[in-house]
Symmetry: C3
Subunit: 271 residues, 3 copies
Amino acid sequence: MADADLAFSPRARFALYGAVRAKAPLVQNITNFVAMTFSANVLLAAGASPAMVHAEEEAEDFSAIASALVVNIGTLSPPWIGAMKRAAALYRARGKPWVLDPVGAGATRLRRETSQSLLDLKPAIVRANAGEILALAGTLGGAKGVDSLAGSRSAVAAAQSLSRQTGAVIAVTGEVDYVTDGARLAAIHGGHAMMARSTATGCALSALTGAFAAVAKPFEAAVAALSVYAAAGAIAASHIRGPGHLPASLIDALDVLDEPQLAAHSRVEIE
Amino acid sequence: MADADLAFSPRARFALYGAVRAKAPLVQNITNFVAMTFSANVLLAAGASPAMVHAEEEAEDFSAIASALVVNIGTLSPPWIGAMKRAAALYRARGKPWVLDPVGAGATRLRRETSQSLLDLKPAIVRANAGEILALAGTLGGAKGVDSLAGSRSAVAAAQSLSRQTGAVIAVTGEVDYVTDGARLAAIHGGHAMMARSTATGCALSALTGAFAAVAKPFEAAVAALSVYAAAGAIAASHIRGPGHLPASLIDALDVLDEPQLAAHSRVEIE
Amino acid sequence: MADADLAFSPRARFALYGAVRAKAPLVQNITNFVAMTFSANVLLAAGASPAMVHAEEEAEDFSAIASALVVNIGTLSPPWIGAMKRAAALYRARGKPWVLDPVGAGATRLRRETSQSLLDLKPAIVRANAGEILALAGTLGGAKGVDSLAGSRSAVAAAQSLSRQTGAVIAVTGEVDYVTDGARLAAIHGGHAMMARSTATGCALSALTGAFAAVAKPFEAAVAALSVYAAAGAIAASHIRGPGHLPASLIDALDVLDEPQLAAHSRVEIE
């Protein structure tokens, strides 16, 4: 087993989850209305401390006390864009990580322009689906509203290119998740198809990624967050009949996830 | 069995649900904060593709790619009204259907005026409770906040009159649901009293009606959507002890609903 | 048993819950995006009629028809502050009770200033955690984002002082809940640690407190609301494995709560 693989072993990834639980980082979220409640509950289940704080007037005070920021443009409107940019700039200036979730990046001009402005503010990590990554990279994406018609594999080259252009770690989620820092590429296996049938599952993963970014470097944080979520999602789906119970079951799975479960229900390959 | 009845047989209604699942229409929702998450999950469970997109700046771009619009005034405020009107006008101009849910229409002047302005923009379908329909029709309604004190039957004449005035199909929901296009009147039996004890159940039905409006004519769409929801609600309620689990159970029921279940748990009469 | 104790016996407290169920008070909520859906469902489960209505333009009309108001500053932004103040002033002027939930009061200047302005508008009841009460009382609080690091007992003196200054009944929730009107102090035992691991649990309790304030005097209302919630929370937690199912289980427990359950799962001491 190569050193690179050891760094992403179940033990190493679970150690980062242990760090989230031990440090309980305060994570500020400027996120969409659909995802707020579930994102807060995912962060609480992981042992982090969520704060849904979106006023531009609070960005300065809050960036001083929080450890990481998550910006999600799902229910975008102009009054929120100023706060997103101000907060992102403040976290960047303070050397604190922030995560961008560019929901529906290719669907409208407002989303394209906002995503680009936010990318210029140097997120540590971008978490998105294939269609959104293809749109950000300027490639013709297969977007349908906020869902992606393209498989995650099809966006790997665009993700690598986008990572090299922006300096951000790019996480593309789908049936298999991919994380790249431009040089390295990790493939994360796990999860369950039911996760795509419950709203805000990806948004809440972005929130969780923010908690990991508060305790580890971006590439390691993203790989660990995605594999923890993939394992919890697979366990959650195994306990239920349909997508209606997925959010509650996923929270319960995150709450008690241990290292053997992480090892059994997720797999990371470094390419 | 008359032709009119055949057109609303379980087979015919279920065929429209099959069309929603097969075509997965993209449905834009400008809806209230309480209902957003549940509405998105109801649309996903039905096989549609939900988008919660409310910025006036996105209305033009989004109306070009989506198949239907749902406007719900539940948590109304002036900054949203412009977007509601702009989006409604655009869908109308493009010949795409839009559904109005005039939450609390009679409770305040802002709601009365906004509902009237939106009615002028020609929704294909209005989905509301009896108190709201009575308020829209200018009749003295029994409104208490956003809930209705009046039974749905008491609003049938007002619904027929409103339908003739506006050209919209009117769906009045309650213990029995009624749908009218001014000439025809359908009564939909099914559902469960527990549905009124869980918030946003009616709002999410309006969202579902939008998905059906994307694949069928308004009267047929409304009857099919309401009967599918009534069947799923009855099934959902039979699996649980209390209203806390209704949303998750309703989503699961929608997810797997088949034609025999629709036939067993809903009934449509054409008057 | 002293008279004071009799006034807070399970029978007396349950009688107030019976009054909520019988009168079904219409409760206006200007609350945060995270808590809206759960708060509405908690009010419905208690038999009250929730309305999430936040437009300043509706404050006059709505304060005329509703019985109580709940203001929660969780996802604060300047456009909402005007509506909060206007609504609070109107309820006060009409002699109707309103409840303040000063989420994260100590975390930012915007929250400190807004909380103080709202306190000046004479809430009947303030429901908060220890860190928020310490911040409102001008004491150095142990706030971490919106969660409190301080135990509820540590804020009792500050709560008593704040009550005397403002005339409001102060409810400090935590492992043990305390309610004071400056003279009396009630300690409410019950609940479950899992309640702190599900978002908006405290916010929804503030909403429920608004329903009780519509049917009883502030001190009695707060004690009854907190003990009903504590009992329902303990029952809810006993039925589930993890925090993911807490909201649904708590709603079901509130829905069917009876006097023996209230007596068995909550305890009130008057000091």
